[in-house]
């Protein structure tokens, strides 16, 4: 949090363009895809699992939903429905395999990632779709503010979808009994099982949710880049994972929050945007990202240890 504020204020002073409403809106729009996926992954991490297959899931839902739309069968509602339901189904397959195979979730989802992605690429020959329906390319806009020069600030599909997913996930995790149960199976699976929580059903929910969210995110991404490419999304899983972990979620489960995750995504997005505005060559931006990730995880590990020491001291 402090790091984000520090970077933000430095950029504010150093670059006049950074704090403009337009730049902030653009940043929000372009990082909405990552942020939506990160929110879905947060739920899986809180439940004590990891999902690597969501990018492959998103690629499939994107391709299938927009291919159907291209044939003229679907409107907005149908499009969203197909993507979300298909994503949820693929997520349920993950849940089923994670619960029955007795392998850790990271291994299972690496396998399903290979499976989904391979099938998609084989079926499509890796071909992009550039011609999308006009109504989809136009997107959705809700103008909220017109400034003096007539420039419009509009809410678009990306921002609305992000707000909805974050709002729902936050509500699910903190305000419902299901949310408490998800924290419980992540914090101590054995205890949760003995208390009688339905671990299998919760897993279905968690991985299904991840898949559904991936379906939604895939449409958000396709709308932004105005095309569908089956190979564009896979390979970004680890970036999303890094953002969620930077936001304070624990890989061991039971810890994490939606605001934290958003901060993690924002930190990486602001860093990238700021480096561009400062005129740093894009070739070096990955190095900076790596440095920030390392610094953050070291800081978090240090904090965690101090916490542990304090707990020991108070116990003694």
């Amino acid at each position: 949090m402090a790091v984000l504020l520090a970077i933000g204020s430095v950029l504010w002073v150093a670059t006049p363009g950074f704090a403009s409403a337009q730049n902030l809106m653009d940043m929000l729009t372009s990082s909405a895809f990552t942020a939506i996926l990160a929110t879905g992954l947060l739920v899986v991490l809180v439940a004590g699992g990891v999902d690597i297959s969501f990018a492959a899931t998103a690629s499939i839902t994107q391709y299938v939903a927009l291919s159907l739309a291209n044939q003229g069968h679907l409107g907005w509602v149908g499009l969203l429905l197909v993507a979300v339901v298909l994503g949820a189904l693929l997520g349920l397959v993950n849940a089923l395999l994670v619960t029955t195979l007795g392998l850790s979730s990271i291994i299972v989802t690496i396998a399903t990632q290979s499976l989904y992605y391979g099938l998609l690429m084989a079926a499509t020959n890796g071909q992009d779709i550039f011609a999308l329906p006009g109504w989809f390319n136009d997107g959705l806009h809700w103008v909220v503010h017109v400034d003096a020069r007539g420039g419009e600030q509009a809410l678009n599909l990306q921002i609305v979808a992000l707000a909805l997913v974050c709002g729902f996930t936050g509500w699910l995790l903190t305000r419902t009994s299901i949310g408490r149960q998800i924290f419980a199976i992540g914090g101590n699976p054995e205890a949760a099982r003995r208390v009688g929580f339905p671990v299998f059903r919760l897993n279905l929910l968690v991985y299904g949710f991840m898949g559904a969210v991936a379906g939604l995110a895939s449409l958000v991404h396709a709308q932004l880049v105005q095309s569908v490419s089956p190979s564009a999304l896979v390979g970004r899983e680890l970036d999303v994972l890094a953002a969620v972990v930077l936001g304070g979620a624990s890989l061991n489960g039971g810890i994490g929050s939606v605001p934290g995750t958003l901060l993690g995504v924002a930190l990486l997005a602001v860093l990238q945007n700021g480096l561009t505005l400062l005129g740093v060559s894009s070739y070096w931006s990955q190095l900076c990202t790596g440095g920030v990730i390392l610094a953050a995880v070291v800081m978090m590990a240090h904090q965690g240890r101090r916490h542990l020491v304090r707990a020991d001291a108070s116990a003694a």
């Binding site: 299972v108 396998a111 290979s114 054995e190 890094a242 190095l287 990730i293």
Partner: protein
């Protein structure tokens, strides 16, 4: 005669272990299946040779992934490390290498390889320090170094390619000795000592102990941070050797080669019987798993299937193997639990213990 044969078989069984035996069975079944569907070409000399050329890259990378997996960790930075050290080697080779073959010429090339190894060892040290001393979880630490190391490579090369290597390097990628590709020989020369080290040496034993229970190992007087440091340095050095092989095979070095292999190495290691939570696994199992994966890949290309379908089948193979294991465990447990079976009480309780352990595993 038959008695001695039986003794030989049980001895073989014991030497191989159940995991390897199952993998060999799968390998045999696949061989028969592919020989039937893809025809005799499948096992022709040319096809075998092409398999032998393709195997070492993934093999060396999987080996680099396996060592940290055994210690209960993970190294996501292996491919970035391989590329950075390949770029280092390539830079040294293309700058200041004497044109005429001679002593300096030979020494310069060895120096290039050494420089690449040194760079990799530095990355390994960084990983080890983060994981062993700063107690960062291995996934996060190596995710960070992966981004950092790739960032360095991209920043220095601007995403470009370095090429133009002397004959010995190219020989490594394309040459054969008595019909066997040099890269495969290199893989054997690396894999056998690593295998022996992991299963027979004190170091290998402590690595497996750290993977099974790190706290207990530390309390029994083992310097676990030192073990972990060596694990990650070893992993990075294996990655550097992969970098050398990739560079020789592609005639060039680049910051982004082989990135799709990252998760496949974990898949191969787990298929080869390496326990992803640490402690158990043998190099021999990994090698059999690699041969299986390679066989699937070659058969797919013979049958004119997409290379991506191969990836799909690899994923499905892992799920199927894990699925049969889970099914068998469930079956045994059911047999033990069923009231009609004449099982003594003690066995039944152990059956219950297995059930409990199974559930913990699954939820975790």
């Amino acid at each position: 005669m038959s008695a001695s044969l039986e003794a030989l078989l049980t001895g073989l069984k014991r030497a191989l272990g159940p995991v390897n035996l199952r993998l060999l069975g799968l390998l045999l079944a696949l061989s028969v299946l592919f020989a039937g569907t893809a025809g005799p070409q499948m096992f022709s000399a040319a096809s075998l040779r092409s398999m032998a050329f393709q195997l070492p890259e993934l093999g060396l990378l999987s080996l680099a992934m396996m060592v940290p997996l055994l210690s209960g960790g993970l190294d996501l930075s292996i491919i970035a490390t391989a590329n950075l050290s390949a770029l280092t080697m390539a830079w040294v080779l293309t700058h200041g290498l004497p044109a005429e073959p001679g002593l300096v010429w030979a020494l310069w090339q060895m120096g290039a390889v050494l420089a690449g190894m040194l760079v990799a060892a530095c990355v390994g040290l960084l990983n080890g320090y983060l994981i062993a001393h700063l107690r960062v979880s291995p996934i996060l630490a190596t995710l960070g170094t992966m981004t950092l190391v790739k960032g360095i490579a991209v920043g220095l090369t601007h995403g470009g390619v370095v090429s133009g290597f002397p004959a010995p390097v190219l020989f490594l990628g394309h040459g054969t000795v008595a019909g066997v590709p040099v890269a495969l020989l290199l893989f054997a020369v690396v894999a056998i000592p690593v295998g022996v080290m992991l299963s027979r040496s004190p170091f290998g034993l402590t690595v497996a102990m750290v993977g099974s229970n790190e706290v207990a190992t530390r309390y029994s007087g083992v310097d676990t941070p030192w073990v972990l440091m060596r694990v990650y340095v070893l992993s990075a050095c294996l990655a550097a050797i992969t970098g050398l092989v990739m560079m020789a095979r592609f005639d060039s070095a680049n910051a982004a080669y082989g990135e799709s292999y990252l998760l496949v190495t974990i898949l191969a290691a787990v298929l080869g019987g390496v326990n992803p939570t640490g402690g158990f696994g043998r190099v021999s199992g990994l090698v059999i798993a690699l041969v299986i994966l390679q066989l699937i890949s070659t058969a797919a290309s013979m049958l004119d299937l997409s290379q991506f379908l191969t990836l799909s089948i690899w994923g499905a193979t892992l799920i199927a193997v894990a699925g049969t294991a889970a099914l068998r465990a469930w079956w045994t447990q059911r047999r033990l639990m069923s009231p009609s079976s004449h099982v003594v009480n003690g066995l039944q309780t152990s059956g219950v213990a297995v059930v409990r352990a199974g559930t913990i595993d699954r939820t975790g």
